[in-house]
Structures are given as C-alpha cells and as structure tokens.
Amino acid sequence: MNSLKSLGVVNAQRATFDTPLKFSSGAVLPRYELAYETYGTLNADRSNAILVCHALSGNHHVAGYYSDNPKNVGWWDNMIGPGKPVDTDKFFVIGMNNLGGCHGSTGPSSINPETGKPYGSSFPVVTVEDWVESQARLADRLGIEQFAAVLGGSLGGMQAMQWSLSFPQRVRHVLIIAAAPHLTAENIAFNDVARNAILTDPDFHGGDFYQYNVVPTRGLRLARMLGHITYLSDDAMADKFGRSLRAGKLGFTYDIEFEIESYLRYQGDKFAAYFDANTYLLMTKALDYFDPAREYGGNLDKAFSAAQANFLVLSFTTDWRFAPERSREIVHALLHNRRNVSYAEITSTHGHDSFLMQDQHYHDVMRVYLDRIAGDLSI
C-alpha cells in the first residue's frame, strides 16, 4: 500500500466552451463541456502546471477521492499527490476527461442541444490531435501558456507525444509511458474484435441505444474482457490464477469454472455497468488512428522534427500490447532529432497495466525526473 498521504477530498469541475471545435474528420462541435480536476496550486508565474492525459478507460478523476464517496479514489493516486512522484506540493496538476468520454465531458451519451437527445451515433470520431486541441483550450482557460510537463500512459502517452508536435512551444517536458508511435496490425485487430463485440450486440441499435433504454452490456463486457487479457501478462495471469478452479474440481459444464474466467467476467460486468459503449468505440478508434508519422510517409524522425520538448520515455518489460521495442522507436526518432531524451525499461510482471502499478524503481525514475523539472523551475 501507498504509505504517502493522499490528496484527500477533490472536486470535479466543468468548463463550457462556445468556440466551435473542428475535428480531424471535418465534423464540428459548436459547443462542448470539459470535466476536469486540479490539484495543488498554480504558482505566480504559471510555470508549474502538469497535464495528466488518460488512457482508454480513464477520466479526469486522477487522484484523491470525492467527499460523498471516499472509496472512489483517482486512477493514478499512487503517482500523484503530496510528496508523491508527481508532487502536488510543487506542481499544479490537471486531469481532464477527454472529449467523447463518459464521465462529464461532452460525449456520445451527452444531450445534443440541437435535438434534445443523446448524440449517440452522431458524435464525431475523435482523434488524439482533437483531444490535444481541446486540452490546449482548457489550458488557455486556466491561464496556462506553457506546461512544465504533459504526461500519460498508453493512449495518454500518445496524447503527451502529440502535445510536443501540436504545440511544441507550450510544453517543456513530455513523459511518454507504455505507449507507441502507432498501433501495430495485431493491436488494431484486438481493438476491432472489441468493437465488433459492441457493434453486433442487438442492444447497440447503431449507437442510439439510449432512446431504447437499453445498454449493449454483452458487447461492452466482451470488449473489456478481451482488452483486459491483453493488458496483463502471461506470467501475471499464471501467478494470480494459474489453473485454479473455483469449485476445486471439474464440473463438466460451460459455467464459470476456472478462476481466470470468474475474474474476467467480474471485470467485464464491472466495466459494462459504468462505461459508455460509444465512448469505448471512440477511444479504440483514436488509438488505431494515432500515427504522427503518417503524413511524413511513415518517417517518424520527420514527424518529430517540430518537437522542442525534453522527453522521458518509459516502457515495461512484460508489456506486449505496447512493447518496449515500440517505445524505443520513439526514443530513436528523438535521438535522430537530437532532442533531450531519457529512456528506462522498467522490469515488471504486470504487462501493460504496469504503468498504473506501484513499483519502487518506476516511481523513483518518475520522481527524480520530475524533481529535476521542479529544480529547473526553482519550485
């Protein structure tokens, strides 16, 4: 358990934007809301802000807990808080729910003011670039010209990376954790199976299930179960579940027998109870589309030529969904552009999920890097 104290009670906030946002797809959202939380204090020269970008199932509740539900602890509470690697005594930390999310920011389940009905299938496909644009608008609103750092894991790491390309002058440090410069075919394939589970659920209704008062629970559950398998490692699963049987013996049925089956179904059910199916589709699509090298003929070196930031890139040895080799591609492209970059490959048994785990060495690396940032800023 984390011996450092938590931030304690935090509050979600909301910002409304009336300036239309044009998406990469060409679609335009005339008005939208972004849900966010902030921790710590913005200093007088507004130089100590850190943006934390979330991954597929994350949201703006990054650290601390809510007064009405102390059990609802932020998803990265072990990393962010007073005295923690991302130290809220020094930094002003922002967590934001991505556009298209289902935790307060405008998304497919929000009411479209033009129709009075949920956006559903009419909500645009969002890209990482679109998210970064919306995050920059929130930064403008909060009076932050330049972030001390933008950081994130997985899909969050892709957003951090995109920050260095979309707004090179607005971010001093970029921390890319357990990410990749683009998904591989295998990775897209996993996402497509997950999407198919949702798209083919009879309760999906082409994305407009809200008006039928149903939820494509089966599809969402399957999608999550598949995803979850890929976020773990073979070793971690073997360690945790092995071939253990719930009843201690074979039942010769198709019910839940192995512990791993029980675990996955529990995770699937839990997820399907709170997550929006359209948001899941949208998040996986943003993952699939992300490929900053695409407009440079696949040349990642050229894609990074605009970047000005300093970089920390981290990967985890057992992460096969976003393998260390993929992080090294990022590192090499940065090296070829002579950017300041450090890279650590963290030994971990937890697969892709390692980036969310408490690990001494991982947290040491984060801490010393962020301490250097604080030192350079004299905060």
Binding site: L312, L335, N340, A344, H361, V368
Partner: protein, 204 residues
C-alpha cells in the same frame, strides 16, 4: 555541478580530465556504459557537450536522471542499432571495455556511430597486477575492485593487447594517455601505468 565539484571529480577520476582535454567545446558525445552520468555531467560543465549516456543498470538510470544527463537504458552487447551512423563527434567507452562481451562488434559500432572513439580501461599489464599474479592471486585494486568470482570484467587486457587489437581491427590510434594515481606515465607505460585512455578513429 560547480567548478569546484568538477575539479574534485577530475582528481578522483584522472581519466575524466584526459578525456575532457580531447573533446572540443560543444561537441556531441555518446557515453557507453555511462554509470551514474558523472563523466557526461563533467563534460557538460567543462566542455558544454551535448550528450547521451547508455547504461543497462536500473540504479544508474536513476542516478543519470538525477545528474541531469540524458540516458538510454540499453544493453551494449546488443549493439547500437538505434543510433545513426556518424551521429556523434565522440563515442566514449570509459572503464567499460573490459566488461563487454562482444568487444570487436562494439568497437566497430563505436566507429560507425562516432566520428572518433575514446576508450579508457585498467591496464592489466600494470606491474602491481603482474606481481599479484606472480604471487599467486588475481589482482584486486582501485582500478580492479572485484574478486575473481564477482567481477563483471570478462575481457581484461594490457596496453600491448589493445594496440594489437586496434591494428587488427583497422583502428587508428590518434592519442594515448597512460596514468597511475592521476600522474601521467611516459616511461614503460605497459608496466608502470594503471589506467590507459585512447583516442582513435577508423583507419582511412
């Protein structure tokens, strides 16, 4: 690091001063087996180099970041494939040569990636080492601080060995500095020198 710290560091690691003397101001440097990043930090402070370190050890990665130097965690024995040809003015291998498994391949990689290379290593031909062996034991000293059973060193050599190796590898030695306890050794270096630093390039 203050100038005072740099002076102290140079006293503890005389090979650092020798290396710094060869490196022009503002050069780009890749330090292989960079340890805690002290050399890169020294070179940054003394020569304003733009540098990266490579190391495999977790604790060294943390120490480098704390020292404010760029570090890439990687295994030197798997090569430098991520680095472009001739992308550095100097590639340095400081007190690491003796712990490398594929020495020939790495020296060739150094000269692919760097316009020139610098290596420093403990001279196994130093008289105290020879005496220890004559007396029947493997040498243990400040330069060779390990016991035979826990040493990471797999390819110890003498000055003569290294120079023969360079001749065979088409490597041209540009400079050599041999030292003992920080003092330069000019007479009988293979016998009287405990540490050697070489600057070299690919033979044209």
């Amino acid at each position: 690091m203050s100038a005072h710290d740099s002076v102290e560091l140079a006293a503890v690691r005389p090979d650092f001063a020798a290396i710094a003397a060869w490196i022009p101001k503002g050069a780009s440097v890749l330090d292989l087996g960079c340890g805690d990043g002290s050399l890169l930090r020294f070179l940054r402070d003394m020569r304003e180099v733009r540098g990266y370190g490579v190391d495999i050890n977790d604790a060294n990665i943390v120490a480098c970041i704390r020292n404010g130097v760029n570090v890439i965690q990687d295994d030197l024995d798997t090569g430098l494939s991520g680095f472009e040809s001739l992308s550095f003015d100097y590639v340095i291998l400081s007190q690491t040569l003796q712990a490398i498994r594929h020495t020939e391949a790495l020296v060739q990689e150094i000269l692919r990636v760097g316009k020139a290379g610098i290596v420093s290593f403990p001279n196994f031909g130093y008289w105290r080492n020879r005496l220890k062996i004559l007396c029947g034991n493997m040498p243990v000293s400040r330069e060779l601080p390990y016991q035979w059973y826990d040493t990471p060193n797999v390819h110890l050599c003498t000055l003569c060995d290294f120079e023969d190796f360079c001749a065979n590898q088409n490597v041209q030695i540009l400079d050599r500095r041999v030292m003992t306890g920080g003092e330069q050794v000019k007479v009988l270096p293979n016998l009287l020198g405990s540490t050697a630093v070489y600057r070299f390039q690919r033979r044209a």
